[in-house]
């Protein structure tokens, strides 16, 4: 049973999972990072309070986060087809993963940026820094340890969600686990994929934490 076809399939599964997780997290940040920055600065104690903008972003983020991922996968099928051309496989799974991850990422970015000491922001203001300079030179720089720690959590969560997408033909290790372990009762293949998922998760987690520690000069 462990012939080269199976091994190749599992190897492809690993590549698929890593690809989905990293690309989805990346695009999750492309959307979520600016959204988190805007949430932070438009909040009532932010650099440029804007109630309307905050409300809109806040509501968007809450609505998307409250939709279960499996439902989001199905709801987004037409949109996914539009973007990728098909609704199954690893590339297609990236679309709902990004949509699902972005509002979580925005919230995490918001909480990271709010950890930056108000006094330091005031010092920057007192030196004549503009809001844009404060965002790029102070907020994002001073919050970097927390941002990286959260990015690690995001990557791990996206990895888990990508496996969930296996239930609807999402590709990657999760897909293999569902098809072989669940539908064909091949327990050994399922166990192998689960172990591989755990190993991948650990690698992501340790790398992220290592980088975060390296960048921390506060403690």
């Amino acid at each position: 049973m462990w012939d080269s076809t199976t091994i190749n399939m599992i190897l492809e599964g690993i590549v698929g999972t890593v690809y989905m997780s990293i690309v989805s997290t990346f695009f999750g940040y492309v959307l979520g990072l600016p959204m988190g920055v805007l949430l932070t600065i438009s909040d009532k104690d932010g650099l440029r309070p804007n109630r309307a903008l905050y409300k809109v972003l806040d509501a968007t983020s809450n609505v998307v986060r409250s939709i279960p991922f499996v439902i989001l996968l199905i709801l987004l099928i037409p949109f996914t087809r539009l973007v990728v051309g098909k609704s199954y496989g690893t590339s297609a799974t990236i679309v709902p993963l990004v949509i699902c991850a972005a509002p979580y990422i925005a919230r995490m970015v918001e909480s990271s940026l709010k950890e930056v000491d108000d006094g330091v922001i005031e010092a920057a203001k007192a030196m004549g820094a503009s809001n844009i300079q404060i965002v790029f030179k102070v907020l994002l720089v001073e919050a970097r340890t927390s941002l990286i720690t959260n990015a690690t959590i995001a990557l791990g969560t996206v990895l888990g969600y990508s496996a969930m997408a296996g239930t609807v033909g999402g590709g990657g290790l999760g897909d293999i686990a569902v098809r072989y372990g669940y539908y064909r009762y091949q327990l050994d293949i399922m166990i192998v994929t689960v172990i591989l998922l755990i190993v991948l998760f650990q690698i992501f987690q340790n790398t992220g934490m290592f980088i975060a520690r390296k960048l921390n000069h506060k403690i």
């Binding site: 000491d117 006094g119 330091v120 005031e122 203001k125 030196m127 004549g128 000069h217």
Partner: protein, 246 residues
């Protein structure tokens, strides 16, 4: 000497609380003005109004003839003329001493890195901290951090520097090194507005004393020694008494 900073009819309130009422003040170039008064009298708030960190409800503040208006776009230009040093230093924790100091000159004032570094090192040398240039703030003592914060303000070449209880968070032996640095600045002709609880220091550095109580200038005098020996108002007398032990 020319007038650098002018405050007319400044009125500031936080909700229902009036913090500063009808403050008028004029500071000349090179003058050292020390503001003293009981806690909660509005001293720090007053300083923070001067560079637009606090919005004011009415009145006019001008620096170099230009109005300070919180929330306006031009405020960033004005703030570059007004240095500020804070009680809790407010150094950027993820930046080294040198990076802390040159950040605003290079990013806000767009000076070249070489130019900013060169001057930063000269100024650090004056406060005996050149060897600490690559340290992070957490590796420094409170007194060292505050001297770095002062250098950081100086490198912007401000017209006036505001000191907001800069020694209040320091251990006694570190207070001295910071105050020495400020005395040297005053001798070099810097225009300074200082809020402090160090009365001996106030006596030594001030050209003018302002005694603030309940948001009001109660006493203002250029006879600094006279003020500390025998203030004119009862409130100032009572305040100064709290620093004496018999």
């Amino acid at each position: 000497m020319s007038e650098l900073l002018k405050v007319t009819h400044l009125h500031k309130e936080f909700g229902p609380n009036v913090v500063l009422k009808d403050i008028n003040l004029s500071v000349k170039k090179g003058e050292v003005v020390v503001i003293i008064g009981p806690s909660g009298c509005g001293k720090s708030t007053f300083l923070r109004c001067l560079n637009g960190l606090e919005e004011i409800q009415s009145g006019v503040i001008t620096v170099d003839g230009l109005p300070v208006e919180a929330g306006k776009r031009d405020i960033t230009k004005l703030r570059q003329k007004i240095g500020m040093v804070f009680q809790s230093y407010e150094l950027f924790p993820h930046k080294t001493v040198l990076e802390n100091i040159i950040l605003a000159p290079t990013k806000v004032q767009k000076r070249t890195r070489e130019d900013a570094v060169k001057e930063a090192l000269e100024l650090l040398d004056k406060v005996d901290l050149v060897d600490k240039k690559d340290y992070y703030p957490r590796q420094l003592s409170g007194g060292q951090k505050q001297r770095v914060a002062i250098v950081r303000a100086l490198l912007m070449h401000p017209e006036v520097i505001l000191f907001d209880e800069v020694t209040a968070a320091l251990d006694p032996e570190m207070v001295h090194e910071v105050l020495e640095t400020m005395l040297a600045l005053a001798k070099a002709g810097s225009t300074m507005l200082i809020v402090t609880h160090e009365m001996e220091f106030a006596k030594a550095i001030a050209d003018r004393i302002i005694f603030l109580d309940k948001g009001d200038i109660v006493e203002e005098t250029e006879d600094v020694k006279g003020f500390f020996a025998e203030p004119e108002t009862e409130r100032a007398k009572k305040f100064l008494k709290t620093f004496a032990y018999e």
